[in-house]
Symmetry: C2
Subunit: 252 residues, 2 copies
Amino acid sequence: MGATAGGGNQGRTLDRALDVLECLERARGPLRLSDIAREADLHLATTQRTVNQLVRRGYVQQGRLGYSLGPVLLSLAHAFVVHDRMSTVAPPVLTELSATTRLTSSVYVRSGDERILVARVSGADPLRYQFPIGRRVPLDVGGGKVLLAALPDEEIEEYHRRSPETTLASGRVQTLEELRADVERVRRNGYHLAESERELGALSLTLPVHDADKEIAGAINLVTTTDVTGADELLAWLPELSRGAGAIGVRI
Amino acid sequence: MGATAGGGNQGRTLDRALDVLECLERARGPLRLSDIAREADLHLATTQRTVNQLVRRGYVQQGRLGYSLGPVLLSLAHAFVVHDRMSTVAPPVLTELSATTRLTSSVYVRSGDERILVARVSGADPLRYQFPIGRRVPLDVGGGKVLLAALPDEEIEEYHRRSPETTLASGRVQTLEELRADVERVRRNGYHLAESERELGALSLTLPVHDADKEIAGAINLVTTTDVTGADELLAWLPELSRGAGAIGVRI
DNA sequence: GAGAAACTATCACCCAATGATAGATGGTGG
DNA sequence: CCACCATCTATCATTGGGTGATAGTTTCTC
């Protein structure tokens, strides 16, 4: 399902290898060679060569029940976290933000048709067992709309054409009209207030983060639940959140 | 590489792409296209195609000053951490271990000629600013010798031939004889006590972690400093550490 | 111990990766 | 303001390596 689908096939080998990796990323557990071949739509022999090579390099590991991602990916992520501007700048800002608001604060960056959580500080309980950093989330639900709004209209339409069936937490499918309306609202107001979009009962306030050249670099948000905080109450934190976005922006 | 003799170069494309990634991993900052080409010993055109493809996929990102690793690697690492047995099993054990000993405890796994830190809980201050998970460390200094000791002698010699000039924290170069002696001691005692090997003034006690099939799966250790704890005092924690290794082993 | 599934190995074909070269872009300093 | 250098992009003929069909070997399952 990766980029290998189109007609202009260029860079097939690498694309296929990355498809294999991302297929293992999506998998809920270890995958057999044939599973990978089917899932990534590759010939078994090709899959074998690719997977073995990834195993040799530590990007994939082989266990009793099949193949899964390998520890080298931890090393690469470590290098990313240590050097990336956003990953180093955001945490202290979020720490302060969560201290004053007592809410969970996060920073996302866009990556293709998704956004990735690069920093988070939780409000109430300071430690979270399973750390969520690195999680992929859709662009067109919740705070992702802030990142979408920065794109030209035609790209948004293309995006919607690629994944038209995004269902909100309520179970309803979001129409293109609704998405367009939300995007317009974001562009007008400069923020997005989402209620039960990605998760039922979740309430989030999201702002874009702009770098020194006014280019969008990510999105920062506060999350809470409807039963604890009201929408107006969350909106009251808008100045604080805006200061946080600015603080990150200038340091990038 | 020794799989089929005579063929020599197999799977060139993917290997080169991974070389590019790991060259960016080692880099201290963003790299220019020509830097990558030189560093990875590739033709500029090849580098360009590869890097652009990695950028398209989010594995590499392009900034003002050059190329660096991309946020997709965070996602892959996230999937690894969530699913990998060692990564999920070790943390609670280390938490308990660090609570009773008041020392920093860690778990490493071998990956090629290095070991990778997959879990750590610090003793004194509960939160560490820059998280070290994913860090690559040599196999032949400190606790790495426990992982080396599990390899057949000939592989250890091969390893030493590949990287013969490992300098300890003291500044001295470790000879093959010293390494062999340490490995023998590990095999006899079942643990390794390292003083100022990787870092000056550091004192560490490391044990192997075996899975249900008695195969080595990693290494667990306690770290402290010579000015706070004596060697005998650290060795007193051997039973506790051994229980931790066992607890992890059975759950893998 | 029979059967199936998972993985490995082999090989001829031919397409896609390769690398030399030329062109576009942009930033810097005189 | 222009000349210069560096970075990145684009093009294209060549050929080497990736591809996929098939057969072989190992490992698990019943």
